[in-house]
Point group: C2
Chain length 311, copies 2
């Protein structure tokens, strides 16, 4: 009887690996370096060797493994191939074909942000739901859409690229994507810092934030917790942008739950307050009670989601 | 061998019915009245009698029918039940259970707008694609989201309710849904007429539209085709609202094709020009080449989509 699966999360510097029971219990967790030299040709053989070594160590036969799920920092097409992955120095790689060839075990690949969303649905902030919008607020704004417990990868691999929804005509400096006025420019960690600098420049109000060398999303939300009026204005603007955007997304896919993760989400439940009140104001009446939750799995979301793809 | 299926589209005054081969060829098409009196209790028995009569007429045995697909003007939950359907005078109806009980044939129910979208994907403007955003521009703005050839109904039945995405803070009169500034208020037939009235009031420019008793989306787009500058400004505003909204939706679900239907789409390909240029300007780079098409099936989209659900 098959009862194990592997969840692999390939990052630019390390590959996170997990051995799971098919019920979703982590039996072992480890990391190996990501060797990007020589066009990253060694990455999949390293992953395969690590998996085969783990099977030998645990006395598990390959035929009791349902599969290997693997998340990649790049687009993954419907044939399980990666057209390119800049951080891995990869051009076109048939990742499912190659890794299956190396291990003899079925492989399912997905984009890392989407895979992490699936992990949060399975065992994290979205556990128990079947559909979800995941928002990852880090240096940028990423995301993943899950419908009927499956990732929506998108025809061009852009499913869940919610950081690049246009939300503000008045922003004239470009986003990393080349457009201007993206959600990422106002709702990521760097976006929140940007809003704070604007508020500081546009008023002379006293604030904990004034005069600080470095303003981050963390310093902003710490100031919010101390009741700093200017920081609260920043949080209100952030919540208006993100809440209104999510209100629109619910009119498209109407998920059961919206999960907020990424470094910014460490601010805790207060972050949700600013988002939710705007969401509930702007969304369609039928979606007004949609649940919100913080992500729970942190950096492990990727290995959970990868495992879920094959069990 | 099963080789037939039925597609049923229940409207407030008539029920459209189609007998299909499972390849999607319409073998027969007819209508019966929708008897809404007495809480609409007669609607499903009428549909069942009509189906059984058609089988007898055509000498088809029930066991060669894969199923009955049925579209309803109301939300349909994941158990195939309708909590309410105002136009049918229905309260809670277990439509799949009841109609199966009456016919002995498996039944699959869906919301009519979503079902019509599936029809356009199968045999209409989206034929050949596996994922689609359908936009229906009529008195209101409706829609349907198809992922992997399946309808996204939404957790609260609000999947594809894109007419109620908030797009304009400056609108202070309420939409039918109760919110203000919905896409429906500026991109439906009535929304386009509204934009035209605004343009006429805000300028003294000569225009074919000036002095007309009745301004409709049709008169606006006819004037656009004659080069009327004011009508073109109206079409530009419509295209900006809808193109920008669709640009954002593609960052969420990244469909293969976007299909525009409903009465307004009778304006023809010129309608797409105004939408597409704004879509391509505002969307994420990976989605810039998404295909656009006009809907092809008109009022038959519903019976096609209903049949597709069961074949």
């Amino acid at each position: 009887m098959k009862k194990y699966c592997f969840g692999i999360d390939v990052g630019g510097t390390t590959v996170k690996c997990g051995l799971f029971s098919t019920e979703g219990v982590v039996l072992d967790k480890w990391e190996i370096p990501t060797r990007t030299e020589n066009d990253g040709k060694q990455i999949l053989p390293d992953v395969a060797a690590s998996i085969m070594g783990k099977l030998a160590e645990k006395n598990i036969t390959p035929d009791s493994v349902t599969g290997i799920g693997i998340g990649i920092p790049g687009p993954v097409n419907e044939n399980g191939c990666v057209p390119y992955a800049v951080n891995l120095h990869w051009g076109y790689v048939d990742i499912e074909g190659e890794l299956k060839e190396l291990t003899g075990i079925p492989v399912k690949a997905g984009n890392d942000a989407n895979v992490a969303a699936l992990g949060e649905l399975w065992k994290g902030g979205g556990a128990g739901a079947r559909s979800m919008i995941m928002v990852t607020l880090g240096t940028g704004v990423g995301g993943g859409i899950i419908i009927d417990e499956k990732i929506v990868p998108g025809f061009h691999g852009a499913g869940g690229e919610i950081g690049h929804v246009h939300v503000d005509d008045s922003i004239t400096d470009p986003c990393n994507c080349g457009n201007c006025g993206c959600l990422e420019q106002v709702a990521s960690a760097t976006g929140i810092a940007r809003l704070a600098r604007e508020e500081l420049a546009n008023s002379t109000d006293e604030s904990i934030l004034r005069g600080k060398d470095h303003i981050s999303a963390k310093t902003v939300f710490n100031a919010v917790k101390e009741g700093d009026a200017l920081a609260i204005r920043v949080a209100e603007r952030f919540g208006l942008y993100l809440g209104k955007a999510l209100a629109g997304f619910s009119c498209v896919v109407d998920p059961q739950i919206i999960v907020i993760g990424g470094g910014v989400s460490k601010a805790g439940p207060i972050l949700l307050d600013f988002i939710e009140k705007n969401y509930r104001k702007y969304t369609f009446s039928a979606c007004r009670q949609t649940d919100f939750a913080l992500a729970l799995l942190g950096n492990d979301a990727g290995i959970y989601g990868a495992a879920k793809m094959v069990c």
